[in-house]
């Protein structure tokens, strides 16, 4: 079981709600994924309307909503948006996304650290979306982040774990759960992320734009479970050299 803050999760597959061809298709895929944490962009939700379409399709006891701040450009805007989300969606969890660059949606490390510190003080459970930057992860831990969400590749790119060397460092030294977010394009990427020891992955685009999102969601569910099981079962280390037939140290066993 995965624990973040005071919440436990039996599924290590987190999902998103964007890019689906209809709210119904989204609902079907998310249910099939068995995901228990689903992120929703604050900007997409009708905060005034009582019967918002996206939220209406996410009303299941096992689904926890994770509002995100997509669209904000700095810490100040993020803190304001988080407070609004807390009020409207009745959760103190927030996926902190500060990407002032709308082209590649690259997270701003400086504003993210500032906002995390402030939001933690305000009682939020903060899950920041960040670069695969090991030092930033430690700095975020120091200010009380609940988890870190480093990217595998540019968001929406489906390119897989391009940042794997840095993800491995982050995982090896993290004191908080590491959720790999962005770039996971195929179930094999998700399995790989779990095999190297990630605590969870967040997948949206790869499921939403598949020809059959529901079956793709199931594929990701299975991949995440397989990857986690492999990690817990201790994978054999890869070797890049053959075992030498005449070991260099064989002479030590010889009698002189």
């Amino acid at each position: 079981m995965l624990t973040i803050a005071d919440q436990t999760f039996s599924s290590r597959l987190f999902t998103g709600t964007g890019k689906f061809s209809s709210a119904k298709e989204m609902e079907s895929a998310l249910i099939a994924s068995a995901s228990e944490l689903v992120t929703v962009a604050l900007k997409r939700v009708d905060l005034k309307g009582k019967d918002d379409d996206i939220l209406h399709h996410l009303k299941y006891p096992h689904i926890n909503l994770l509002p995100n701040t997509s669209g904000v450009r700095n810490a100040k805007e993020a803190v304001f948006a988080a407070q609004l989300a807390r009020e409207a969606l009745e959760t103190n969890w927030i996926k902190l996304e500060i990407h002032p660059d709308p082209k590649y949606l690259m997270p701003d490390p400086i504003e993210t650290l500032k906002a995390t510190e402030e939001l933690v003080k305000l009682g939020f459970v903060v899950l920041p979306y960040i670069h695969a930057d090991p030092v930033l992860c430690k700095r975020l831990e120091d200010v009380g982040t609940a988890a870190v969400m480093p990217l595998g590749a540019p968001i929406g790119s489906n390119k897989g774990l391009r940042t794997i060397d840095f993800l491995e460092i982050i995982i090896s030294q993290s004191r908080v759960p590491v959720i790999i977010d962005a770039g996971i394009g195929a179930p094999s990427d998700a399995a790989k992320a779990m095999e190297i020891g990630a605590d969870a992955v967040l997948v949206n685009t790869a499921i939403a734009i598949a020809k059959d999102p529901t079956n793709m969601a199931i594929a990701f569910k299975m991949a995440v479970e397989a990857g986690r099981m492999a990690f817990e079962s201790k994978l054999g280390a890869q070797t890049h050299y053959a075992a030498a037939s005449s070991p260099l140290t064989a002479f030590l066993d010889e009698e002189f």
């Binding site: 660059d101 709308p102 685009t205």
Partner: protein, 374 residues
């Protein structure tokens, strides 16, 4: 402050045009193979040599758009606030020399129009005016934004170019996006079509996106009026402008429109006609050149064309539009800017979008994401 004019001046219209028309099939194939495409690739993709490759372009365009935007289409609608205008523009119904009664909506009339638009389901409105600085000015816009921002998630504006300080004033009142079309990047032709009024200043218009970027606008829209000049050359300059702006104002989003000249009462015949095939080529070329830019299509285009083009790279669409102030409720018969081609209602368009396996998106922004200045 650096402006686009420096970049613009280093490109000669005639040479640029020749270089586009000189592109060969080999250039097009190279552009199709590349994953990062530059301005030379864009030239190849808009060139006549690319027409035989339209299906390949459409396939790539669709995939890039799905990856980036998903199976969704953004819905927006124009709200014409005024048809008062001091400019003479040869192609526009609002042109100063077009002798018709003018009107600018007052707050009560605006709210009547808003009620109709909200009833259609819209949360994103595009405010449109002519250029009449004596009555439709920054202060008027500020009042309109304050009046309507409680009712919309996203407000865009397509009005006369303003100064940096004006944009800085308006943004905290709820302004998210500003569209400012250059009409044409051909300077002599621009002068010919804009003989009178503030709009006749080519350079001031050319540098408007720079002023928007300096003011920190969230999104800006570019485009030319297709039909005034050679559309290929004009589109190259649009792409050049986009490339410059993306690097210079890295925190702003961009959208492109490709309005084709439409008839209005007593209007101008297009000098250059762009056919449907060529418009598809242009849409796909923009997408292959830039996978993040938003591409928008208005009711200027026909029913059949709009139905087909949804899947090829478009990200935003308007529907149920009126192009005259008061057109929804207050005065349906007032002077319109141009005739629309697709008269289907917003809900009919939404149903068409759903039928094609896409979701119409009404809300993708929130006023709370704009820091109000108190």
């Amino acid at each position: 402050m650096k402006s686009f004019n420096e970049v613009f001046e280093s490109h000669n219209w005639d040479d640029t045009k020749a270089s586009i028309y000189d592109k060969t099939a080999a250039d097009v194939e190279r552009a199709l193979r590349n994953t990062q495409r530059d301005l030379e690739d864009f030239k190849a993709l808009i060139s006549p040599a690319a027409l035989p490759y339209l299906e390949d372009m459409a396939q790539i365009s669709q995939r890039l758009t799905l990856d980036r935007f998903g199976r969704v289409i953004q819905m927006y609608i124009p709200l014409y606030l005024s048809n008062e205008c001091n400019n003479i523009c040869t192609y526009c119904g609002f042109s100063y020399d077009n002798k018709v009664r003018r009107r600018t909506l007052n707050p009560m009339e605006i709210m009547q129009e808003v009620a109709v638009i909200k009833g259609m389901g819209y949360d994103h409105v595009l405010l449109v005016t002519g250029e009449a600085n004596q009555s439709v000015h920054t202060d008027y816009f500020k009042k309109v934004l304050d009046l309507i921002s409680p009712h919309f998630a996203h407000i865009s504006m397509e009005v006369q170019p303003l100064d940096v300080a004006d944009y800085e004033t308006l943004i905290p009142h709820g302004l998210n996006t500003v569209l400012v079309y250059q009409e044409t990047y051909h300077q002599d032709d621009y002068r010919k079509h804009h003989p009178k009024g503030k709009k006749s200043n080519f350079l001031y218009r050319l540098e408007t996106p720079d002023r928007l970027g300096q003011a920190g606008i969230h999104k800006m829209g570019l485009g030319v009026l297709i039909g005034l000049e050679d559309w290929r050359t004009d589109s190259f300059f649009t792409a050049l402008h986009l490339s410059y702006l993306e690097k210079q104002y890295w925190q702003s989003k961009f959208s492109i429109s490709f309005p084709r000249l439409r008839p209005f009462s007593g209007g101008l015949e297009p000098k250059v006609v762009m056919n449907d095939k060529e418009l598809v080529q242009l849409i796909c070329a923009y997408r292959l050149f830039n996978s993040e830019v938003e591409l928008s299509i208005s009711t200027r285009e026909t029913v059949a064309f709009r139905n087909q083009v949804i899947k090829l790279g478009i990200t935003a669409i308007s529907a149920g539009s009126k192009t005259n102030p008061g057109g929804y409720e207050v005065e349906p018969q007032s002077l319109e800017q141009f005739e629309i081609s697709d008269e289907r209602s917003a809900q009919e368009i939404a149903a068409m979008i759903r039928k094609q396996g896409y979701e119409p998106i009404w809300k993708d922004w929130d006023m709370s994401l704009i820091q109000k200045s108190c």
